[in-house]
Subunit: 588 residues, 2 copies
C-alpha cells in the first residue's frame, strides 16, 4: 500500500458540514491500493469505563481519478461533535490513518486520542448554504448590446445595422433592455428561467466592463424604469435576473479616475486605487491585466468598500435583482468579499453571489463569501473530450471527478456550469461547427450537478471565434435560425427541469469509459430513480442491451428524451455522435 | 516516481502571502522520490509574442517526514499576480505538476494555461499578520487560585492553609491578584515578559471556567482597582497580560442560565443556549463535554454575540489587557470568531488572540480569526520522545516537521508553545521526575519557532499528575524551591530573549537524528548567525568535533549557554541526558 499517497485534509472539502447536522468525510488513496476503508468516529467526550467509545462504518468508493480512489462517509454526530480516523485495508495489511499520519493498527494507536482528526462542532452558521432556487434554474447569458434592438432611438449614433457584419472590438449594433423585454416570450418558450446580463451600467464601450457610473443604466440600454419593467416581467414569469458587478476595476473615464488624473495626490480619490507615484502616467498604477483604461480599485479602502456595497445594495433594494455575478472576482481581496456577502445576504437572503473564477474556487466557497463560481474548470475537460478530441474519455471523467472531489457537495450543486461565454470561443466553433458534437456536449453538461447556463444564440446555432467574434448579433429571422438546434435545446432544458432534483443531488456513477471506441456511460441516481446516459463519440454504432444493465424488473424503463416506454429485453442502437438517456423508476 | 503522492493545495498553507508581497509556495513529494523541483511562475497576463512569459527557479527541500519531502520557493510577483506550476525531476523523468495533476512535461502542456495553479492577487488585507511583540515574548501561565495569597481577607472562608495538602477538585487555597502583584519582581527576575492568567471573573469554582459574571473580578481574587494595578505594573515592567475568555459555555449559576431554568421557554435567555425542549432538565441542552453545569452558549444568536463582544472590548478598554486566550475555541463557530477578531483588532490592533485548540488549527489561522493556537500538537511529539520515550528521534522530528509544514511560516512564528498546563500532567511528572529530562525538553522547546510558555512552578520543580494535581500551590519558601532548576530557567529564558529573532524566524535544519544512540542535532540559521543544538538522550557520552561541523573559519564560535568562546578544533563531550548549544557568528 502506498502510504505516501493517502490524504485527508481536516476542515476542508474533505470534512465539512453538509446541512448543519450531517458531516461529509472524504479520504483519498492511491488508485487500486485500498480494498476497503473503515471510518472510526465518535463524540470526543464519550467514554465507557475509561475507554473512548467509537463507532465504525464502511466507507463507499465514490470516485476515481487517474491517480486516486476517493472514499466517502457521512455521519450525524449525536452531540454535533466528532473525532475520527480511518482504517485502510488492502489484501495484506490494515493501517490506521489519523492526524499524525499512518500508524500501526493496534490497541495502543486506537487509544491515543491525539492521533484522531477532529471536527469540533457542527455549526449551522459555518455550513455552506446557497439559495434553493438556484438548483432549479437554467440560465441564459445575454450580452445586451448584441441581443435585440428594441429601441432604435436609444441606439448609439454609430450603431451599425443589426447583424450587418461580424463585430469588431469597438462596433455598436444597438442592443438594449427593451430588446430583452420584447423577447421574454421567446425566452420563456425556450424554457430558461434565469437571465444573466453582462454589465448594463453606463460605460463607453460596447461590453460595459469599463464602468463610468455603477448607479445608472447605460443610456443606450435604457433607463431605470425600463429596467424595472424588465425585472418585474421576469419575476411575473417566475424567472430570475443576475447582473454583472465589475468591482476589481473601474473605467478610466469614471469621474473618480479622472479626478485623480487631474488632481494627482491632492485628489480625494487618490487612495481609491493602487497608484505607485504621482502624477499618474500610463504605467504607474495597478490595472486589470495590462489594460490602462481599467484602473484597479483599492478594495481595502473603507471608502471604496462603502461605495461598492452601496452599489450592490442599490440594485437589490431599488430593482429586486436576484443575483450578482462578480467580474474578475479572484483578484479582489477575501476580506471585502466577506463584507459583501454579509451586506448582500442581510439585504436579501436568497440573492445568488457568483464569482468569475477560472480555476479552483474552493477558498471563495467556504460559506462566507460566494455561493458559486463560473465552473470553467469543470466543463473544460468535457470540451477537450467532445470538441477538441484531445483527451480520452477516461481522462475527461477523471478530471471531472477530481473537480467534484475538490468541492463540497452542496457547493457543487449550485455551481454555474457553462460551455462558452462572452470570454471564450462559441461552443459551435469550438466543435468545429459540428452541430452533433455541440448537442452531445450540451446534453453531457446538462446531465451534471450544478446549474447549467447557455450563452445567447447557442440555441439557434450562433458560432464565433474568441472575442469579439463570440459577440455577434443575435439572429431573429426564423429562417436564419437553426430550428433543429432550437427544438433540441427546448427539449434538453425541459428534461433538465423535469429531472432537476436528481440531476442536482443524485449520485454520479461512471458505468463505462471505453476509450478505444469512445463510448461512455454514466448514471445519476437518487432514491429509487435512475437516469442512465450513453454517449457514442466513436465511429461505429454501439448497442445497449437493457437486460445487461441489471435494472430492477419492477422498474419502468423509458427513453427519457422521447419519453417512449421501453422493455427490459430491448436492445437500442446508439449511432456515432449520438446519445441515449434511459430513465428507470418504480411505476407510479 | 510516485505520482499519487505528489500534493500541492492552492490557497492553503501550501500557497500564501507571507508579508503582503512575498508568496510562499510548498509542494510535497514521496520521500526520496524527487531529485529536484523547478518552480515555474509568472504574471498570468504577461505574454511575449503570444507566449506566456514564465520564470523558473529551483525549489529548496526544507523538511522531510516519514512519508514525504517538502519543497519550498518564495517569489515576489512584480504585479502581485501569480500563475505557477512545478516540474518534478527524478533520475529518469521530468513531469509537470499543475492544477490538473500530473501531465507530460512538454511544450503543449507548458502552453496549456488552465493547467497552471493561480494565486490571483497578493493582498495585504488577506495576509495573516500577528502582533509583532508576541515574537519576543516568553509566557508564564498562572492559575490564580494557586499562585500566591496576597490578601488573606479576600480568601474564601473554606480556604486551606497554603500548600497544606495536594489539591482536590473543589479545594480553595486563597491565591489572588495581590499575590501576583507581590511577585512581579520574582517574575521579572525570572525573565518572563508575558503573563497568561486562567479565568479571573466571578465564578463559584476554584478554576473559574464556570463563569458567573464576565464583567466582574472574582471577589476572592480582588477587585477592578487591584486588577488595574496589576496591569499597569506589568506594563511598566514591559510585560504583557493575557486573560482567559470562556465563550463556548457559561456557568450554570449565571443569571442567564438560572433565568432559563426558572422561566423555561418564557425566559428572555431561552435562545442564548442550545436547549432541545422545555422545561430544562439535566440532559436536554448542549453543554461543554457532558458537564451539566457548563451550558453551551448559542454564539449564532446576535444577542449572545453582542454580550460576548462587549465583554471582550470591556477588558481591553477599561484595563488595557494585551491578549485573549479563548477556552474551547474550536467548538465555537467561525462566523462569531471572525466578528470577534474584527471587533477586538479594531479596538486595540495589537491584542493577541490565542485559541485553545488541541489539534490542527489551520482553519482558525487564515488571517481573519486567531493569531495563534495553544501548540499542543507541536510539542506532543517532543514530550513523547524526551519524556515518554515512546517514539524515536526521527519519528519526533518528522512529526515536528509535519506540524510546521501544516502552517504558514508567519503563523508558526507566533504560536503558543507549551509543554504542560492546568489541563495536563506537569512536565516534571511526565518526565517521571527526571529533572535532567525536563531541562533537556525545555531547552528543545525553547529552541523552536513560536512563543514559549512555562506553567507556574515549572521553574522551581513543581510536579503533579493530571487535574487537580497539576494545580498545586506555588512554593515560595526558597529552601523548598529547586534552585538549580530556577537558575536553569532564568538562563534558558535569557538565551531565548537574546536570540529571539533567529529562534523565531531562522531556518530549522536537522543535522543528525541518530535513533540508535538517541543523539540529535539541529541548527537554526538566520542570515550570518547559526545556533547548533545537540541533545544526547542516549546512555553514552557523545563527542562533538567542531571541525566536522564545517563552520566558516572566520566565524566566532562559543558555547551559547556558558558564553565561553570555543576554538574550531575543539571537541566537546555531551554527557547522557545533557545538551549543547553552539553559537557561530561573524565577529562583530
Amino acid at each position: 500500500m502506498e502510504y505516501a499517497a493517502i490524504h485527508h485534509q481536516p476542515f476542508s472539502t474533505d470534512a465539512y458540514s453538509y446541512d448543519g447536522r450531517t458531516v461529509h468525510i472524504k479520504i483519498r488513496t492511491k488508485k487500486g491500493d485500498a480494498d476497503h476503508i473503515r471510518f472510526i468516529w465518535g463524540d470526543p467526550y464519550e467514554y465507557n469505563d475509561g475507554k473512548w467509545s467509537a463507532n465504525e462504518q464502511p466507507m463507499r468508493k465514490i470516485a476515481a481519478t487517474e491517480m486516486h480512489d476517493y472514499w466517502f462517509a457521512e455521519v450525524v454526530p449525536p452531540f454535533r461533535r466528532l473525532q475520527y480516523a480511518f482504517v485502510v485495508t488492502d489484501d495484506h495489511e490494515d493501517i490506521f490513518f489519523g492526524s499524525s499520519g499512518v500508524c500501526p493498527y493496534n490497541e495502543k494507536t486506537l487509544e491515543t486520542i491525539h492521533y484522531y482528526f477532529k471536527f469540533p462542532f457542527v455549526h449551522e452558521a459555518d455550513t455552506f448554504q446557497a439559495p434553493e432556487w438556484v438548483k432549479s434554474t437554467v440560465w441564459y447569458q445575454i450580452f445586451p448590446e448584441r441581443f435585440a434592438n428594441g429601441r432604435e432611438d436609444l441606439s448609439p449614433k454609430n450603431a451599425l445595422p443589426w447583424g450587418s457584419k461580424d463585430p469588431d472590438v469597438n462596433d455598436f449594433f444597438g442592443g438594449d433592455l427593451q430588446g430583452i423585454v420584447d423577447k421574454l416570450d421567446y425566452l420563456e418558450d425556450l424554457g430558461v428561467n434565469g437571465i444573466y446580463l453582462t454589465p448594463i451600467f453606463s460605460a463607453p464601450s460596447n461590453h460595459k466592463y469599463d464602468t463610468l457610473d455603477y448607479f445608472s443604466i447605460d443610456p443606450h440600454f435604457g433607463d431605470p424604469e425600463l429596467f424595472r419593467t424588465l425585472v418585474s416581467q421576469l419575476h411575473q414569469r417566475g424567472m430570475r435576473i443576475m447582473l454583472d458587478a465589475v468591482f476589481n476595476h473601474i473605467g478610466s473615464a469614471s469621474p473618480q479616475w479622472q479626478d485623480v488624473v487631474k488632481n494627482g495626490d491632492q485628489s480625494r480619490y487618490k487612495d481609491w486605487f493602487h497608484i505607485h507615484s504621482f502624477p499618474v502616467t500610463d504605467d504607474n498604477y495597478d490595472r486589470f491585466a495590462f489594460t490602462a483604461d481599467m484602473p484597479k480599485l483599492n478594495t481595502a479602502n473603507p471608502e471604496v468598500q462603502k461605495y461598492l456595497l452601496d452599489i450592490a445594495l442599490y440594485w437589490i433594494r431599488e430593482f429586486d435583482i436576484d443575483g450578482w455575478r462578480l467580474d474578475v472576482a479572484n483578484e479582489v481581496d477575501h476580506v471585502f468579499w466577506k463584507t459583501f456577502r454579509q451586506a448582500v445576504s442581510t439585504e436579501k437572503p436568497d440573492v445568488y453571489i457568483l464569482g468569475e473564477i477560472w480555476h479552483s474556487a474552493e477558498p471563495w466557497l467556504r460559506g462566507d463569501e460566494f455561493h458559486a463560481a463560473m465552473n470553467y474548470p469543470f466543463t473544460e475537460p468535457m470540451i477537450e473530450y467532445f470538441a477538441d478530441q484531445t483527451i480520452s474519455a477516461s481522462r475527461m471523467a477523471h478530471r471531472v471527478n477530481a473537480h467534484l472531489m475538490n468541492g463540497m457537495k452542496q457547493a457543487n450543486e449550485v455551481m454555474f456550469n457553462l460551455l462558452d461565454s462572452h470570454d471564450t470561443k462559441r461552443l459551435l466553433t469550438r466543435c468545429r461547427n459540428d452541430e452533433k458534437k455541440a448537442r452531445a456536449l450540451l446534453a453531457f453538461m446538462f446531465a451534471q450537478t450544478g446549474s447549467p447556463c447557455i450563452y445567447y444564440g447557442t440555441e439557434i446555432g450562433l458560432n464565433g471565434e474568441n472575442d469579439p467574434l463570440c459577440r455577434k448579433c443575435m439572429v431573429w429571422e426564423k429562417e436564419k435560425q437553426n430550428q433543429d438546434m432550437l427544438q433540441f435545446m427546448k427539449r434538453l432544458i425541459a428534461l433538465r427541469k423535469q429531472e432537476n432534483t436528481l440531476l442536482t443531488e443524485g449520485h454520479l456513477e461512471w458505468n463505462l469509459l471505453d476509450d478505444k471506441n469512445d463510448f461512455i456511460s454514466f448514471s445519476r441516481t437518487l432514491d429509487e430513480k435512475i437516469l442512465i446516459y450513453f454517449f457514442n463519440q466513436g465511429n461505429v454504432v454501439q448497442h445497449v442491451s437493457l437486460r445487461e444493465l441489471n435494472i430492477d424488473r419492477n422498474k419502468k424503463i423509458c427513453d427519457a428524451w422521447t419519453e417512449q416506454p421501453l422493455q427490459h429485453h430491448d436492445v437500442i442502437a446508439v449511432q456515432p455522435g449520438e446519445f441515449l438517456i434511459l430513465s428507470a423508476a418504480a411505476p407510479v
